[in-house]
Symmetry: D2
């Protein structure tokens, strides 16, 4: 049994992660923390657990004193809050999987510029592996600290990687038009997250300045082997969970839709959680799962490729991907605890 601790268990991502860990056959949850609900039982905060699973929420501080009880520490905190405890954990020989943004950007300066927070200990960041198993499985296997990718970046990077790797598309001005369910905004209290504000509404936000932009650019650039520029436009969907990203890519050479499909199928042939589909993907087919589904349309005359991808932002975009990384790090089957389909309705 892998002994795990979880700090930040009461945000939507943290709760989802807890749900998965509770289902997982090879983990034992040693502690869960929450600064907002310290001292309460988790079932008082999330009624789905009542009678079935319970544990008292401790403070993050107390979590820091219990690192010797665990093999791996999951962190689902707002950005700028993970570094110190991550450092402690690493020192104690505990593996770290961080669901926040603190260790996703290779370059500490870029991080500082976009997140307005400094890496106190840039060494930790240097150790961190970007936890997208489909691209970094081998590195994750050997890492002691993994930065689970952001939800939007997961949907965007998986959608573009095969084309970028083969240099089949231009890397300037890649357009990522994304639409996310509301759970992506977290459980914090904001007028714009109220039911009556979101329901029957739709909007774009943070154009040219969403913090996931440098993360997408970094990974698209690495895939292509050269700098990539991304226009990232997030929108807010009136649904609970799910992200759909529509990518607009410019061909560098003529290529048919069928040829592109072949490349994707080959590229992801060993990736259980990526589903390449001839039909355009829909959120309802993957919600509540760790699956990323991808569909492609191409127009040779216009030299345009449109790739559409869907994920569940709380699972493949957060808690599920983190557990997938854990499975890899601990030599378990990658699908352990993650092998369920969408119920469709």
């Amino acid at each position: 049994m892998i002994k795990v601790g979880l700090v930040g268990a009461t945000g939507y991502a943290g709760q989802q992660l807890l749900w998965i860990l509770n289902m997982h056959k090879e983990t034992e949850i040693k502690f869960i923390s929450s600064n907002s609900y310290e001292g309460k039982e988790i079932s008082e905060v999330y009624g789905n657990y009542k009678k079935y699973f319970d544990k008292k929420l401790i403070s993050q501080e107390e979590a820091g004193t219990k690192l010797d009880e665990i093999d791996v520490l999951f962190m689902a905190l707002p950005h700028g809050m993970s570094e110190k405890l991550a450092g402690q954990a690493l020192k104690s020989g505990v593996k770290v999987i961080d669901l926040g943004a603190d260790f996703r950007l290779d370059d500490s300066e870029t991080y500082e510029k976009w997140y307005k927070v400094k890496h106190e200990n840039p060494e930790i960041n240097k150790q961190a592996v970007y936890g997208l198993p489909e691209l970094y499985r081998e590195k994750i296997k050997e890492s002691s600290i993994v930065a689970a990718p952001g939800c939007y970046p997961t949907s965007a990077i998986l959608a573009a990687a095969p084309l970028l790797k083969k240099n089949l598309v231009k890397t300037e001005n890649i357009i990522v038009d994304s639409k996310s369910g509301v759970s992506g905004a977290g459980r914090g209290l904001k007028t714009e997250s109220l039911f009556t504000e979101v329901n029957e509404n739709f909007k774009a936000y943070n154009l040219f300045m969403h913090r996931h932009t440098p993360e997408i650019e970094q990974e698209m650039g690495k895939a292509a082997g050269k700098e990539a520029g991304v226009i990232f436009t997030p929108h807010l969907l009136p649904i609970n969970r799910g992200i759909l990203s529509t990518l607009y890519l410019d061909m560098t050479e003529e290529i048919t839709e069928e040829e592109i499909y072949k490349i994707y199928e080959e590229f992801y042939k060993d990736d259980y959680f990526v589903r390449i589909s001839r039909e355009l993907p829909e959120i309802k087919n993957i919600k509540n799962t760790n699956i990323c589904e991808i569909g492609i349309r191409a127009d040779i005359k216009k030299k345009k490729i449109i790739v559409v991808s869907v994920i569940d932002n709380l699972i493949k975009g957060a808690g599920g991907q983190a557990v997938q990384a854990m499975n890899i790090m601990f030599g378990l089957p990658e699908t352990e605890g993650l092998d369920y389909l969408s119920m469709y309705v």
Copy 2:
């Protein structure tokens, strides 16, 4: 032109009232207030007004200094906040229409018991007329202060009044099973009002203890001419607006569904905003309107009558009903500014 002031313009009820007053041909809006957004333009708080209507939000205090500019003061405040300003207004000869709960209960003690607030000046409460035009049109005409009914009570009282007036149903344990859209909870920040908490969810709340209970009992009792006991069970619907109430009533004598329909049609024959329907009513047919639609089913063998009513909680249950009262108080056609149908979709 009727000169109006509005305190509490930025809650959902206040905003709806403002919308109606802005459309109304015979009103001139002299000031609007908001304690939360004092100093902002209303269009900064509600983007629907941008470019079309604007006015700076003043404080409630400042509103008190401008009573000489208006003929009628609308108040859409949390309970316990209306009495002082209402008193001032009345003294200045300004008519008052209060959308809150402060003057709905005849008995100040009952008010105090349920709302945990005292009437400092019970005289004001005594002057107040319960502003349900279908039952109190004549009194409203002559009143200087009107307490606009609560949203749930409006749906319940209109549904039962004809049967109560004729003593065709028992007055003990009248069951009112109501379901309301989320705007009824207001625009305040509460975890349980977040989109992700309400969407795809449904729940009952405040059983046996919702504050609208004494209001419903008071008015049902008055209609019946004897004390009435109500079991009121509110539920939260994942929609923006609308209330549907299902009432279970016990016949005192045998009566057919058709006879009951006749009674309702007769009772409401002069009420433009009450629609008696042989089909069961649906929220989509009345949302965004001042209409209350009522359908009836009866089972003589079981001696049960079920009455189903629907209203838009923000209009017939708040701003629309308040303007309907104003129209009556100022001798205007009752439908002025209120004469639009639901767009259905």
Copy 3:
């Protein structure tokens, strides 16, 4: 491994059942049928299965020729369609679990009256056990044919059974005010099931005449040991899945809320899938699960008890309950294949 066949796999209940059987560790799916989609792969009809599970849909007729391949036949058909094939299966020594209404009513005449269909072979109906494990676990164990309860009846019967068994409430005019998500209406094409008709809407339907009424009356009567009369009022909720039922019961003697809670906790103490809760239950806490959650409020002065229950109509109200019955019939742990919690959001 239990070899199973499923006829009616492409309705929402059938699909949910298939989902569960696919996750179940002890079953092997031998065939699935669909009259509407015969010849297609299930993944062409429900995209959630793509790449992960597939099987060609055969006709119901062909299913009849494959009974020798299976141990148990699940049937999820419109009413009036199960009898013939069920008879064949029983003759071949195949156990039958029917999710439809054909064998739920003990009295063939009552069935005929409400469903306008005749039992051609009333013997089958006589053999059938009402498949509510919490009340009939022992009988299910020994049965060869089980009628899985209707969704509304499941929510109503579990909510009232403990009080009825102890004769603590009157059995005349038990009010069951239920609200169901749209999947309960099935996947058939009807204008009133369109998104634009249901969304932002709410309505009651089939008052005094919904076909689940005699089923609820039968089981409430059996629990009480005397005839029971039920007023059943269904409503349509704009959500995908979930039923909340609000029951109004009249005390036969004075009893406190706390005493009632004790009775319920004792009554269901061995029932893994019933959760008694001091908080009022919410659909989001049980959706996508086989759990029925129940909350209670009582008012001694009014001699009224309100019981609120929630289930997922497609799981505890259909596919999950059917598999729970199968587990019992085949001596498996009752929770096999059903042991997951709601993801909350």
Copy 4:
């Protein structure tokens, strides 16, 4: 009073149009037709009208015999169905406003290619004016037949026109990423329009091949004075009404966001129904209105301009725009019958 007839009154667009005409002070509705519901009263088909407005639905054929009773004929029919009756009407001196696609494309061959229907009488098409008042007000004034623009094209063309007119953006590969509410799919019965299929879902559809593509290209081309190529990607939003379009445009020269805003404000300075906004537009601020709201973001370094526009697809995208055209054709104030704001919630 303008005497109007309406064929196709029971689709969502037709119903919306009827709603507006019923509110309009200068119109008298002489007949309404529906092939699906011939012989019924409109209030039997759309319950919002009950008691307030009614008229029997006649057949389209019968409508053809009543052209002498009207001044203007509105047609809201599926494509390929308007030509014959339009021709009759024009011959009788009746003005025609067609909400369908039959007369939107200048080039009959393009129409035939995309819609697989032939113009029997191409002369009618030649007479038709594209009914976008903001671009063709003067032409509409003098026209006898107007083709009301498609919903998606309205949102796209208004968003891009000012930049195209000034040749500030490239005209190849203009990306229009649009998201529409479900009412755009009409009231026809399709599995994919069921509540349970759309709710909590999101998808893209008809990539590179949606029929609104040539219409957008035609009008963008005309605005720019040269051929325009458009990548149009529609998506289906789980809301009743509203379209948001996100346009990606390539600068031909460096220009700041502020300069672009100035151009838009100038361009639309006399257009009551276009609102240029410094905040990004949201559907909730314009739903149930005839307003198109537009927001702009630009990045000089990337040489990209993103324009976001929102409309109500049934009003500015259908019935409202048609009435706006009628107002212009008949010399009425353009805002007559259309002057209401969104209720926000």
